[in-house]
Symmetry: C2
Subunit: 338 residues, 2 copies
DNA sequence: CTTGACAACCAAAACGTTTTGGTTTATTGT
DNA sequence: ACAATAAACCAAAACGTTTTGGTTGTCAAG
């Protein structure tokens, strides 16, 4: 059906070896032949069959990304931005991106195994790292190249990019304390996600540094969704002694918090301050605009992908690990306490 | 490195032909041999090399999805939900999903050509169909299987799933008119997207049916972003005779509109009504919750994917075309005019 | 005994590349 | 004139699978 190297060989009256070598610019092909081969290839619209190529070279020029989906539906703006970042960089390097979606579990692990063993992909980008992460164990054990976005709690001797969650939280606390707040509540991400640990740690450290009291009823666990933020905030607001600022584990949660606050007839940024974490594009346009910590997700996608490709191509000797310092973005959801 | 069919053959003392046929349950292999082969395959952790398989069978068992990204960043919750829907269904059929991201243009078209010619994918899911769409022309001309989410304005003799945008808009207008509104503004999606046409058409038809005046200054074009909604709404609100309801072309736009309204010191759902289109999960939790038209994106992803696989496998003779009737979800961003 | 049918197996070709290890022809140095 | 070198080319093997078109041995029927 489609044109192969053999068709070109026939047309130019050379062997397929010569055609292949001409196309790859080997120097045992005469300049005339090279030019001819290239012209004919162009004319015939030749594009190499990647499966044949992969079979011979024992690689696929593709990278894998399995989205951990929680629940039946999922709609996390984080993913689309991250995918775009990874995908863009991948295509710059002429790699394809193979995406699957599985909830964490046995099937998910099986999918990793399949994809690598069936030679579909050369390596993986791992996202939403768990506190103890089976995927990382599997890939490390098999020697499959991968780069993770995030760190596990335990062993960290693998390549990753991560943001310094502790620093991010510290910046938020510093900001609120500078405004005059002393009563801070924190709706943390779920315990089993690795970055929870870092953010909590930053929160605690900063509170301690400022000599703030941390009440256990002000420390709650959300689930990264708007609904979760809404519910936790309602609980916080009906306390006898409610906090003057609510720090959310991510922006979605913060939006939920703002809804709850407004439903209580309070004004965000005046009666009570709310902060997020991630700085998704929507944060700039919420009402009021959200004070949050900027995480350059698109850029992180780029970095992770590039590191992975370097790793696959053997351009990397050490174990690349990058920690980005996130930046506090102050908007009007935070203000001095009443 | 990894275990091949040849390794199994050696272990069980049969030819590779027999092993292959045993694994595929051909009936010229004795039950004993089949059992033995399967057991050994299991033990050795055999997983077929997809590249070799694809080379021989001339297919890849993968489907392609190229995201049209507008601008450098992009964060459209629509995509993550759609990808999850397509990806999930694909994995149920044991297909992989190859995702790329390109802005519309020459490079994008080239990517389609590459992916199909290099045998990376067996067919495509096309998303965000344009009013006149080069991608569809290319694939049709080459006889590559594809299913689109959306319809082009012109020829519609190809497989697609779409929602009935006209009906959706009609429901919105009916709802608002029932509440007592007579002055409706519409911030439409960009002109070059196909569904714009249908939604505008529905808007016009419904307005006419109710004998409403359609002023040109109330008819504006947005860009599907929050920022766009914000800007267009500001313009609408500063008119001498502003509308009492603003209909947005999608939810993101509606969020921008709500911000602008609130910034003008007006209350959404009381002083002015705002509606969206899509019903992204966030719509339920915005402040106030958004009246919008529900589009089951995840389900549409599923349908599109399944149709495509049927098409690839030749299980489909006709030309499947499905139009879904979307459903109006009334929340508190819409109410009677003051 | 043959013959035919059937069960169980297998060698070789094919898919489209790249790589290996050549061969042939022309050119150069002595 | 001859060997050595260089330039341009190529046949065959390999990657891991499925498919094609067999072969071999056994058994029942004639």
């Amino acid at each position: 059906m489609s044109v192969t190297i053999r068709d070109i060989a026939r047309r130019v009256g050379r062997s397929i070896t010569t055609v292949s070598r001409a196309l790859h610019d080997y120097d045992d092909v005469s300049p005339e032949t090279k030019a001819l081969v290239r012209q004919v290839a162009e004319e015939m619209g030749y594009i190499a069959n990647k499966q044949a190529l992969g079979l011979q070279k024992r690689r696929s020029d593709a990278i894998g990304l399995i989205l951990p989906t929680f629940g039946p539906r999922f709609s996390d703006p984080f993913y689309s931005e991250f995918i775009a970042g990874v995908g863009k960089k991948a295509s710059q390097f002429e790699r394809d991106l193979v995406v699957s979606a599985y909830p964490p579990g046995e099937q998910e692990i099986q999918a990793y195994r399949q994809l690598v063993q069936s030679r579909r992909v050369d390596g993986f980008v791992i996202v939403r790292v768990r506190a103890v992460d089976e995927r990382i164990d599997l890939l490390r054990q098999r020697g499959v190249p991968f780069v993770a976005f995030g760190r596990t709690r335990a062993a960290q001797d693998y390549p990753f990019v991560d943001e310094d969650g502790a620093s991010g939280m510290r910046q938020v606390v510093d900001h609120l304390v500078a405004l005059g707040h002393r009563k801070l509540a924190f709706i943390a991400p779920p315990e089993n996600l690795n970055f929870t640990h870092l953010r909590l740690q930053g929160f605690h450290a900063a509170c301690q540094a400022h000599g703030l009291e941390i009440r256990t009823e002000w420390l709650r666990e959300g689930d990264l969704t708007q609904r979760g933020g809404f519910e936790q905030a309602q609980a916080l607001l009906s306390l006898d002694d409610p906090p003057t600022a609510i720090l959310a584990g991510n922006d979605l949660t913060a939006f939920g918090v703002m809804s709850a606050v407004q439903e209580h007839g309070l004004q965000v940024g005046k009666d009570i301050s709310v902060t997020g974490f991630d700085d998704i594009p929507m944060a700039e346009h919420s009402h009021p605009p959200l004070t949050t910590v900027h995480q350059p997700i698109y850029t992180i996608g780029n970095m992770v992908c590039e590191m992975l490709i370097d790793l696959i191509d053997g351009r990397l000797n050490g174990m690349p690990q990058t920690v980005l310092d996130p930046q506090l973005i102050v908007r009007s959801s935070s203000g001095p306490p009443p």
